[in-house]
């Protein structure tokens, strides 16, 4: 076959086509294999980063839950490395590490501002591959906002009651020095806060509003008691400082016994069973839980002014019936526990090693 013949030229064409086809096939296969190798490497780094990010989010969640309401972590956290040699997590950059984790905790308030969310965004980087995971809380409702309107957010005066909300309720006032209290009227009052878990981020001083009001005494001479009760219905309750009011009956002034108290209740169908009874958990995280003794004063005249004012006697720290101080401790509480007059077995101390505030929030965080 002569190469210059028509057959020869055609044969060269066939060979060239074969070369082109083979080289295309080989190149494509090569590129594909390289892509697969890189994908496998990325998959490895991606998974390693994913689980490190998960670790960071878990730790940040635990730290957030462990802190009291006023000191909850928020902002950028220091970078944490996973040391390859010691197989541990550390803040200082080690010589050899698998990857590092950056965590941000932020609070997001929605546009309507009727609830807030906390987000934990954990980003881990392994070999140049980053992966983020986000933990978000369920809505945390403020008690002063619509539709609850349980109290005035500036003065702290209790104004309403609510039905059970299956959410985490935050009771917070925003004026410096304000605390949650009843109005000054000397008339019976009941308020009912009801939620799955309730956290008081402000102190409670039920008689803070004073009692410089007046009323006719017809009810009182019948022997009735002046009672203002804040009923807290929740499976988990977190308190700061608490001040309750107590005044003895004054027969000389025809003034009744008075008490401003807090009663703890358990939502229906909830609670922990202990010794055949249902209990909730209450944490007194403030420095004081006391009752302040008040005394009656009465003006002259037929329609006399009655006032309650602080007596000179010292405030009395509240205790369980068994004598355990409430402040700084955690208790299982039985339905109907009146903090002014706890009955035997109504408040059972929770040993420190069994105190687990995480339970209150167990289902509160969700992975996005």
């Amino acid at each position: 076959m002569n190469i210059r013949s028509e057959q020869g030229i055609a044969a060269i064409g066939v060979v060239v086509m074969l070369l082109v086809v083979l080289s295309l096939l080989a190149t494509t296969l090569w590129q594909y294999s390289m892509f697969q190798i890189k994908a496998a490497q990325r998959e490895k780094a991606y998974l390693q980063a994913l689980y490190l990010a998960h670790a960071g989010a878990e730790a940040a969640k635990a730290a957030w839950l462990d802190k009291g309401a006023e000191t909850k972590l928020e902002g950028q956290l220091a970078r944490v490395y996973y040391n390859d040699e010691t197989n541990g997590f550390q803040l200082n950059r080690p010589e050899s590490y698998l990857g590092f984790i950056d965590i941000v905790i932020e609070t997001v308030t929605d546009e309507g501002e009727d609830y807030r969310l906390t987000k934990i965004i954990s980003t881990a980087t392994v070999g140049g591959v980053s992966r983020s995971v986000t933990l978000t809380t369920y809505p945390q409702r403020y008690g002063h906002q619509d539709p609850l309107n349980l109290y005035n957010e500036n003065t702290g005066q209790i104004s309403g009651s609510n039905l059970f909300i299956n959410e985490y309720l935050i009771v917070e006032t925003f004026s410096e020095g304000s605390s949650l209290h009843f109005g000054s009227s000397l008339q019976n009052q009941n308020a009912h806060f009801s939620a799955r878990a309730i956290a008081f981020e402000t102190s409670i001083d039920l008689a803070r509003g004073g009692t410089a009001s007046w009323t006719m005494f017809f009810d009182w001479v019948l022997g009735l008691m002046l009672a203002k009760t804040l009923s807290i219905e929740a499976e988990y309750v977190f308190f700061k400082d608490i001040a309750l009011l107590y005044a003895q009956r004054n027969n000389d002034l025809e003034a009744p016994q008075a008490q401003y108290s807090i009663v703890l209740r358990i939502p229906q169908g909830r609670g922990i069973e202990l010794n055949g009874q249902l209990y909730g958990e209450v944490y007194f995280e403030g420095e004081s839980v006391y009752k302040q003794q008040f005394k009656w004063d009465r003006g002259r005249g037929l329609f006399a002014d009655y006032t309650l004012s602080k007596s000179n006697s010292e405030a009395e720290e509240l205790q369980t019936y068994e004598g355990v101080p409430l402040a700084g401790n955690a208790f299982y509480f039985r339905d109907g526990t009146d903090l002014l007059n706890p009955k035997p077995g109504q408040l059972i101390p929770i040993p420190e090693e069994q105190q687990n505030k995480h339970d209150a929030y167990r289902d509160m965080f969700i992975w996005e």
């Binding site: 080289s23 689980y51 956290l77």
Partner: protein, 116 residues
Amino acid sequence: MFGRFCSDQSGMTLIEVIVALVLISLIAVAFVPMISTSVKYINQARERCEHWASGRSQMEILMAKAAQGYAGNTEVLFPVKLEGSHEPPVMIQGVKIEVGTEEKLVTFLAAGDHNQ
């Protein structure tokens, strides 16, 4: 030209066919290492993907077990501290969950979230 080539009835000699086959084989052989390496890499990549998929499922099982109180994971501390803070870090107690040896998957579960 191709038309005339195709319509030509004369054909090729045996030697021409053999030479052509040898040439084609030589050309093909030149590409064999590249192709075989590619195939090897693809197989390796597939195996690694399967390995990580298996690692991931093991990890999920261990995490679920740890959450239910399964003992057998290493207890570790995880330092948490605000950036720029001079306070000492809060050391969160928990367990380390690990799969693999050299190329490992590692995560952490805080003590409050499991029953150990």
